[in-house]
């Protein structure tokens, strides 16, 4: 299973690289879709059907919206000049990347093999969760009972996104 996940992850990296370098924005969006749908297969291989359902539906709707936006605006990417400000931005990005890799190197020496640490963490949730929450689906039990704050935060993020979209796109309110 690790081999399959490695191959799919490599496929995702290829899709992401193509999405960065594609001249046509429509093919970039579709290459971005490769990343999302490969993630669905990864979730299924890792036995997480809840996440797979959410990911496949959200990916489809996002792809539809992105394709509609690209078809209505422009299919050619606007390339800016590479001036001094761009050098500062690129330098900052490389600097932060190096710091992140340094922390990743420290952290990866303590990691257990793939899948081991999840079992250790999940033990506290899995022991008697059905009796404590009454829910047969453990994921729903964790999401809405043990980790209710996280779910409330997630729902609030969606509400905030809608508020932002409506604030930006309300032409009628701006006229009045």
């Amino acid at each position: 299973m690790e081999l399959a996940i490695s191959i799919i992850t490599g496929f995702m990296i290829l899709g992401a690289l193509y999405a960065i370098h594609a001249r046509d924005l429509l093919s970039a969006v579709i290459a971005g879709g490769i990343v999302g749908y490969s993630l669905v297969i990864c979730f299924l291989l890792l036995r997480a059907p809840d996440l797979a359902i959410v990911q496949i539906v959200v990916e489809t709707i996002t792809l539809i919206i992105m394709v509609a936006v690209v078809l209505d605006s422009s299919r050619v990417e606007a390339y800016g000049k590479f001036d001094s400000r761009a050098w500062v931005t690129a330098g900052t990005a490389v600097f932060i990347l190096l710091i992140m890799f340094w922390f990743l190197r420290i952290a990866s020496s303590d990691l257990a093999p793939l899948g081991d640490h999840t079992v250790r963490m999940a033990d506290a949730y899995m022991n008697g969760a059905v009796e404590r929450t009454g829910s047969v689906n453990l994921v729903t039990g964790v999401v809405f009972d043990f980790r209710g704050y996280d779910t409330l935060g997630e729902a609030t993020v969606l509400v905030t996104a809608v508020m932002g979209v409506l604030t930006i796109l309300r032409i009628k309110g701006r006229k009045g």
Binding site: P49, D50, I53, V54, V57, V58, T60, I61, I64, I65, A68, V69, D72, V130, E131, T133, G134, S135, V136, N137, V139, T140, G141, V143, F144, D145, G148, Y149, T151, L152, E154, A155, T156, L158, V159, A161, V162, V165, L166, L169, I171, K172
Partner: protein
């Protein structure tokens, strides 16, 4: 936005209702089978988005629909918050306390408050994604005419 061809319209008429029912099934069985409020809500929104894409924006009254979906979204998140707060008043006095009787695990009506959370989070997610889509479509109709 114009509608699509007759083939797409007929297929959408056949499929949209089934997708809607599947979303409701995913939400209601969230505490029994994989899925839950988030997945089911996005599937519900997908049924509406399919209808709007196939039939064009003249078929549905988009502005009125956007007003309704905004209202439902805000009401649903408010009800989720009140359900969470109800744990403070009743039961053990803990935020997000599951104070209703749990019933027999595995039955449709069981698990206390969890199905209610699933239902209202599902309504909230469906209305949010539909509102974002409708706002983009209305923006295009009004501005890019």
């Amino acid at each position: 936005m114009n509608g699509m061809t007759v083939i797409v319209k007929k297929t959408t008429q056949l499929i949209a209702g089934i997708i809607f029912l599947y979303g409701i099934y995913i939400i209601l069985h969230g505490h029994l089978t994989p899925g839950g409020g988030f997945a089911g809500g996005v599937i519900l929104a997908g049924a509406f988005i399919l209808l709007i894409l196939a039939f064009g924006s003249d078929f549905l009254h988009l502005v009125r629909e956007e007003r309704g979906s905004t209202l439902y979204e805000n009401l649903a998140i408010l009800i989720v918050l009140f359900l969470a707060l109800s744990g403070l008043v009743a039961g053990a006095g803990i935020f997000f306390d599951n104070w209703l009787p749990h019933g027999t695990p595995g039955e449709l009506v069981s698990a206390g408050l969890l199905p209610l959370y699933n239902i209202f989070v599902g309504i909230e997610v469906a209305a949010s994604i539909l509102t974002i889509f409708l706002a983009l479509v209305i923006f295009k109709e009004e501005v890019l005419k």
